[in-house]
Homo-oligomer: 242 residues x 2
DNA sequence: CGGTGCCTTGAGGAGTGTCAAGATGGGTGG
DNA sequence: CCACCCATCTTGACACTCCTCAAGGCACCG
């Protein structure tokens, strides 16, 4: 036991030993030596809801792993209309390789903790480690699949289907007890009504009305405007347009 | 001259010698030996508009490069509502690595020519050639950027802004003379009104009305329902919401 | 010359946005 | 502990955009 543990954790930076990104995230592609190198220039930090992570200047020359919380990726039109184009959960990788400037903004939707490292460090390692680039490719492909799923929602679903679809997606990402066979779910919404509206291409009022309707129809229960209980996920799914 | 040509083309399969994908596409990542290997199992073929390329069975175990024409990627809801989630132009790569079944359909929007090869061949080469995976990552990141741009269009733009945005995007992809500084453009629409509607999350009628409005306002001219002339791209851009 | 797709145009209505008011809840300071 | 404030959320009335349904035009083809 002690020997096995020594084998597995020998040389792994303290910072990384209990880090989820080392397993399911991109850091899983790195060997102990590379982890040590990366950890030298890495730092964990916590951010408050609303903190700007990428966008108007600031942290443009670093990448991060999301360790907890939810980060929203947004794009805006010149007149202020906004659209959320992605949500990142742990242990997603945050940043856009091979591009100096991003037209995307990233903002903490909830309290969140991140592990950040300089762009140059990761980009150097990507050149050396095909496995790292392989993981990046896989995550990017997954994000592309998600983006295309949401394009269907944005383009072709009604307001009530959009809200139901959103709740389903959050349930699957937030409630750790929700597997493929789960029948019910409980979770705190990581987004305000305004964020949900920006995610679904609706207004705050429409989101609120649809949530009220789902509540009065007995599909969901809501506590404190944030906590949502879904007794029958399949009933919710029926309303999501599938 | 002859010597130089010999150097550059020595050992390159005939199939590939004049192929655009060898320059701007993923095949640019392969060395002559690998090209020869891949070409052994590759085949070019032309398809007619409407041909199903990925989807209900058929060619699920092969990848392709788009050599000419336009391919539309679609997703559908169970009740038949459809959304186009991407358009592929030459020399884009077509296919979803690391996944057995795709929930995406691909269909030729115009007459198109493709170069296809077995999944296994590419996947083997990706393991051997980091450069190939690097190119795949870059294309995937670009597609993700495009998808997110369209999410803004789908979620936050009005019908007239959507149609203007669509025309701009097509102009930039189709008319070879359109650079960043071009003031005007002429092109054939690669999509029917129904396709445009599926792309923009609108109905055929709304698309038609908005095109008519752009025409009566003098922003575009249309011949034969397909050929579009834009005298002032900046006027069109003003109407795209930017 | 009549079909058959594809596109356009019109009239009317449903669904969502807009504007405005009021409710709720969490935090702060007295 | 209560009073107050502020942000967030809900609800209502109305307007407008876009969808639905229906008819008609146009080009291509047998």
């Amino acid at each position: 036991m002690t020997v096995r543990q020594d084998i597995h954790s020998s040389g792994i930076p303290v910072l990384c030993q209990s880090c989820e990104a080392r397993h399911r995230g991109v850091c899983g592609a790195l060997d102990p030596h590379q982890l040590v190198e990366l950890a030298k220039t890495s730092s964990r930090h916590s951010v408050e809801p609303g903190s700007e992570l990428i966008g108007d200047a600031e942290t443009v020359d670093s990448y991060s792993n999301v360790l907890s919380g939810v980060v929203k990726l947004t794009k805006s039109l010149s007149d202020g209309r906004q659209q959320i184009v992605g949500l990142q959960f742990a242990p997603d990788f945050l940043g856009r390789p091979f591009k100096v400037e991003s037209e995307i903004n990233a903002e903490a939707a909830t309290a969140a903790s991140l592990c950040s490292f300089p762009k140059t460090a990761i980009e150097r390692m990507m050149k050396e480690s095909p496995e790292l680039e392989h993981r990046m490719l896989k995550q990017t492909l997954n994000e592309l699949d998600e983006a295309r799923d949401w394009m269907v929602t944005l383009g072709r679903k009604s307001a009530s289907e959009k809200v139901a679809s959103f709740l389903l997606m959050i349930a699957r990402n937030i409630d750790p007890t929700v597997g493929p066979t789960a029948r019910s779910a409980t979770f705190d919404l990581p987004l305000t009504r305004a964020d949900i509206a920006d995610f679904l291409g609706l207004t705050i009022e429409t989101v609120s009305r649809q949530l009220t309707r789902l509540r009065t129809d007995g599909v969901i229960r809501i506590e404190n405007n944030r906590r949502v209980m879904v007794d029958s996920l399949s009933r919710l799914e029926q309303r999501s347009g599938a």
